[in-house]
Symmetry: C2
Subunit: 302 residues, 2 copies
């Protein structure tokens, strides 16, 4: 898919995700209003919605139909909830201690630490509720259960939570590219690999396609994270929603810091091509969609 088309494709899918996210907390559930507000503050704060878009695109790439996209929607919402909870908890004073996120005060700055912890806990928990509801939308129970299991694994101890712990434990001490890549793989790539596989499950993909989607996600996720590091050095502050060069000021070890900007850019390109290669012979109905998305992620400026 061409870049001009992929832009409008991403916009269309993002809008679908935004609408689903607004409805994700049942209106008739009795939830303390301050807690509901805190959860929605972060869940509806915009952002790229990359993970939900990838869930939907993966389903479409396998089945080639809009019906598969709708079946995958609960997984798209679930992964964005998990991503949002991780941002809320990562921003806490005991963790990265950030005051701003996407140009707005972080959750705990607005609602206090206790509500921020609970809003994160609630979003993480609710993600599994939402994922399980896919069975009511035509996804076989065994597939929905597989997605629950994979979400828990990719987001849990051996995945995102472990990556964040490595990051906290490593902080000043990271000296090798291998260590940095390991952190990025778990902090970022795991949830993106999950997104692709979840979309595949919604479209009842076979194991070969699921593995290809997972590998694509791993590489796109890593490219995404390196691109993030690059944009922190070269990007436009207004587009990024945060001051340029903040990684360097915070003493963060990044790809540009370890291997320079040019080599970082080459890596993004190589990973993007590897991602595209991974899905080339997986028998997908619409591999072009994911090819376009991989290039879209690589070329983004915020």
């Amino acid at each position: 898919m061409q870049l001009a088309n992929i832009d409008s494709y991403v916009r269309m899918r993002r809008e679908r995700a935004e609408a689903a996210l607004r409805d994700a907390l049942p209106a008739d559930w009795r939830i303390p209003s301050r807690l509901r507000e805190a959860a929605r503050y972060s869940l509806e704060a915009g952002g790229k919605r990359l993970r939900p878009v990838l869930v939907m695109a993966a389903a479409e790439s396998v089945a080639g139909s809009e019906e598969a996209v709708e079946k995958a929607l609960p997984f798209a919402v679930a992964v964005e909830m998990v991503h949002t909870y991780s941002l809320i908890h990562d921003d806490l004073p005991a963790m990265d201690n950030d005051d701003l996120r996407r140009g707005r005060p972080t959750n705990h700055k607005v609602y206090g630490e206790a509500m921020a912890i609970l809003a994160g806990d609630g979003l993480l928990t609710h993600a599994f509720y939402v994922a399980a509801q896919a069975a009511g939308r035509g996804v076989p129970a065994a597939r929905a259960l597989a997605v629950v299991s994979e979400l828990a694994r990719y987001a849990g101890f051996p995945g995102m939570v472990g990556g964040q712990a490595d990051d906290m434990l490593g902080e000043q001490g990271i000296t090798s590219l291998e260590e940095l890549e390991n952190i990025h793989l778990h902090k970022t790539s795991d949830l993106i690999a999950f997104s692709l596989r979840a979309g595949g499950h919604a479209a009842e993909a076979d194991d070969r396609a699921l593995d290809a989607l997972g590998l694509y996600g791993r590489n796109v996720g890593l490219a995404f994270q390196i691109q993030d590091d690059i944009l922190d050095v070269t990007g436009d502050e207004a587009k990024l929603g945060k001051p340029q060069g903040s990684d360097e000021r915070q003493g963060k070890v990044t790809y540009p810091y370890l291997i320079g900007l040019d080599e970082s850019r080459r890596r993004v390109e190589a990973l993007t091509e590897e991602a595209i290669g991974a899905i080339a012979s997986a028998g997908l109905a619409r591999a072009d969609l994911l090819e376009g998305l991989a290039r879209y992620v690589m070329r983004r400026d915020h």
Copy 2:
């Protein structure tokens, strides 16, 4: 079941739960060692294991077989993981700020706040992984998925997380029994009601039995919490693992504070009888087990 027998029954089931909890984090998963240690520190800290025991007893009460107990084991482990995460997060400085739990330093006192937050996040996430594995032990996928969905609901925004938020938001301001009961229902009863229903699902209980089990759990959970309030006033410090009268010193609003000790005791008895009544005509194979357990919970001294 008689009280002497129920004591050894509880001990037997608790030991089964302890063994399963020790194996709950796959040894071959790559998890940062400090994070794994933090999670195990709290998960293997003993405690009554009431929720896992209730999961197993519920399965046995429905099916009358040991096979059903084994099928229910993943749900027993999952609920204890959720309970453990909630204790770790509740003890954090931004929440209840407790230094001791069951006579030992709280998780964040040993591992620091960041690791404690992540250990809690990881345990909550992993609970869903473990619950989903029940499908590999002979529980139908649709039942395992129902348990995932119920765990997320009872532990989430409209359940335990909401109850904790109400507790934090209310703190000094609780004046009525209704408010206090509402907090206890969500902070404590919801996860106990879930435990009973999860055991029921493992034994493929019908809706009538599931509802009866849930109502039993609601009432036992509330009785359990009132008993906790009573023991804080009258209990033996060595058995409780915490100083007597700590609720009063912390200015906590409790049942004895609001309605006195005698009336609190009458409520525990009434709720216990209501619990037993709820399951009397639900067609269970072993209602006597749950009857014995309800009385066991009421008579406990720690």
